[in-house]
Subunit: 336 residues, 2 copies
C-alpha cells in the first residue's frame, strides 16, 4: 500500500479529523478564544488550564457546535464563543471528575490533580466554569445561556447521582442511563443544539441537532464504558478497569450481573458492597467478557448511533453532515 | 434592665437583624427561591445544600441585593432571583473552600465535607453554582449576568491566588489585598450593585452601591482575619488560629512580620516555609497580639467601613440606608 492511499484510509476512518479539516478556520478561531480566556495574572491558572485543555483533546464538543452552526447557516462570532465555552465547561468537569475519582492518568498523561494537587484542580475548575459563563454572556443570547446553565446543573446532578449510586452499590440500568444521559449526553446535546440556534435554526432543526447530540453522547459513553473492560479485542498495554476500581456500575458490569450464575452473582454482590480491589479485576473482566456483556453494551451503543444518524434525516446533505453521520459510527467502532 | 429595653439594644447593636426585619417580606421570598432551587431528584443534593444553606447563615449578601433594590426603586421578582443566586454562589464557594482548607467546622457545625466527604462537597458546589446561573438567566438581564459571571471568575482567581501564595509563603500586603478583594469583596460589591441595577438605578447610583459593597466586603474580611487571631478581647472558648494553621498570611500576620524583631522574623520565616504546626500557634498569637497587629488590622477595617459609609453619601436617607450605614460599623465592631 502506498503512502497517499494509506492517508486516505486514515481520513476515512476518522471522521473527527475530517470534521476538523472542514472547519479548520472556525476551529482556529475557537482555539484563539480558548487561549485568550485562560489568561490570568494568577500563574497557576494558565498552568493547570493549559495542561488540561492543550493535552490530547479532540475538541469533539466544540466541533459539534461549529458543525451545527455551519450546517444551519454560518458560524458567527457568537458561535465561536459558544464553542469555546462548551470546551471550558467540559474541561471544568474533567478537573473535578479527576479529583472525585482520584484519577492519576488522563489520555496517557498525568492528571492536573496529581501534578498540582486536588485543591488547585477544584479551584481552577471553578475558574474555567465561571469563564465559560463569561463567554456565553458575550454571545448576547439569553436562550443559549438558559440552555447551557440548565445543562451545567444537569451535569452536576449526574455526577452527584453517580457518586451516590456508586456508594450504595446501585447496579440498576435505569440509574445508569440517567447518569450517562446527564453527565455526558447532556453537554453533547446542548453543544449541537445551541450551535444550531446561534445560526438561526428553527425549533425543528434545533431539536434535530439536540437529538443528534444526545444520542451521539449516549453512544460515546456506552462505548467508553465497553472500552474500560477492554472493548472487543482488549488491546495489549491499554489501561482498563478504572470504572471497576472506582466501583462504578457501568453497563458491562450491569449486564454481567443480569446474566450471572450464582457464583458470579455472589462475586458481584461482594464487589458492590465494598471498596473494589485490584485483585478482583481479573475475575470481573473474565465474567464481563465471557457473558457477552461487551457485545451487549456495543449493541446499545450502535442503536444510539443509529438514532443519532436518523435525527439528521431532514438535514440537507453536505460534507459536514456526512462527517457527523460517520462520527456516530466512529464513536462505536473505535471500540473494536 | 427590663426586657423591651434589652430587645431595643439588641436591635440597635445588630443592624443585620434590623435590615432583615425591614426586608422581612422580600427575604421570605428569597428563602422560597433558595429552597425551590435546591430541589433535586438526587437526594444527596438537597441534603448537602440544606445543611449548608440552612445552617446559621445570616443572608448578608442577599440582604445587600434586596436593600439596594429597595432603596433604588422596588424589589422586583428579578431582584429576588438575583438575591438567591448570590447566596448560591456564596454557598458553592463555601463548599469548595472547606474542601480546599480541609475544614471540619463552620459556624460551630460540622462541615459538609466532614459529613458527606470531599467528593460530595465538590459536586454539590458545582450544582449550586450552575443553579445560580439558572436563576440569573431567569432575571432576563444580560447586564446582571455579565456582572455575576465576571465576579465568579474573580472569586475563583482570588481563591487560586490564595492557594498559590500560601504555598510559596508570600506575605506581601499587595497580594493579601488582591486576595480579599477578589474572594470576598467582589461578591459583596456585585450583590449590592446588581440589586441597584435590577431596580433601574442609573450608573452613578449603581456605582455607589458597588463601592459600598466592595468596601464593606473588605472591612468584613479584615475583621474576620483579626477575629481569627482572637480579636481585641480573645473570647474564651472561641476557635482561633485557622488561618495560621492553614498557612494563610492574613493582615495580622503580615503586620507582625513587618514589625518583627530578629528572633520573631526567624520564627515567621520558619512558619512560612513549612506546614504550620499547632504548637507554633501560641507563639504566633503572642507575636501578633503584642505588636499591635490586631489594632492595625482593625484600623484598616475601620477605614474601609468609613469608605463604605461615604459611598452612600448621595443616597437619600431611609431606614434601610441607616441600617447599611450601621452595618459598616457593625462588621468591624463585632471583633471587639
Amino acid at each position: 500500500m502506498n503512502a497517499p492511499a494509506a492517508l486516505k484510509i486514515v481520513a476515512f476512518e476518522n471522521p473527527l479529523e475530517a470534521l476538523s479539516k472542514l472547519l479548520t478556520n472556525e476551529l482556529a478561531q475557537t482555539e484563539i478564544e480558548i487561549s485568550s480566556h485562560m489568561v490570568s495574572a494568577v500563574g497557576l491558572i494558565p498552568d493547570v488550564a493549559h495542561h488540561l485543555v492543550d493535552a490530547g483533546g479532540k475538541r469533539l464538543r466544540p466541533l459539534l457546535t461549529l458543525a451545527a452552526a455551519k450546517i444551519c447557516g454560518n458560524v458567527t462570532p457568537a458561535a465561536i464563543k459558544l464553542s469555546a465555552a462548551v470546551e471550558f465547561i467540559h474541561s471544568a468537569t474533567l478537573l473535578h471528575d479527576d479529583v472525585v475519582d482520584g484519577s492519576g492518568l488522563r489520555r496517557g498523561q498525568r492528571t492536573a490533580n496529581l501534578i498540582w494537587g486536588d485543591k488547585a484542580s477544584v479551584l481552577v475548575g471553578d475558574f474555567l466554569f465561571a469563564r465559560a459563563f463569561n463567554m456565553m454572556v458575550a454571545t448576547g443570547s439569553l436562550r443559549i445561556l438558559d440552555i447551557l446553565a440548565a445543562t451545567s446543573s444537569t451535569i452536576a446532578e449526574g455526577e452527584v447521582l453517580q457518586l451516590a449510586s456508586t456508594s450504595r452499590g446501585d447496579s440498576g440500568r435505569e440509574t445508569y442511563y440517567k447518569i450517562i444521559s446527564a453527565k455526558t449526553a447532556a453537554l453533547f446535546a446542548a453543544a449541537a443544539q445551541s450551535g444550531a440556534i446561534c445560526a438561526g435554526a428553527n425549533e425543528e432543526l434545533a431539536a434535530a441537532f439536540y437529538q443528534y447530540g444526545h444520542q451521539l453522547g449516549m453512544a460515546f459513553q456506552l462505548s467508553d464504558d465497553a472500552l474500560d473492560y477492554g472493548g472487543l479485542t482488549q488491546e495489549l498495554g491499554k489501561r482498563v478497569g478504572d470504572d471497576f476500581r472506582e466501583g462504578k456500575p457501568t453497563l458491562p458490569m450491569i449486564v454481567a450481573i443480569e446474566r450471572a450464575s450464582d457464583t458470579e452473582y455472589s462475586f458481584w454482590q461482594m464487589v458492590l458492597a465494598r471498596k473494589h480491589e485490584d485483585e478482583d479485576l481479573q475475575t470481573a473482566m473474565q465474567y464481563v467478557r465471557n457473558c457477552g456483556a461487551i457485545e451487549a453494551t456495543l449493541k446499545e451503543a450502535t442503536e444510539r448511533a443509529n438514532s443519532a444518524k436518523m435525527a439528521l434525516n431532514k438535514v440537507a446533505d453536505s460534507d459536514i453532515k456526512r462527517c457527523l453521520i460517520e462520527l456516530a459510527d466512529f464513536v462505536v467502532n473505535r471500540v473494536s
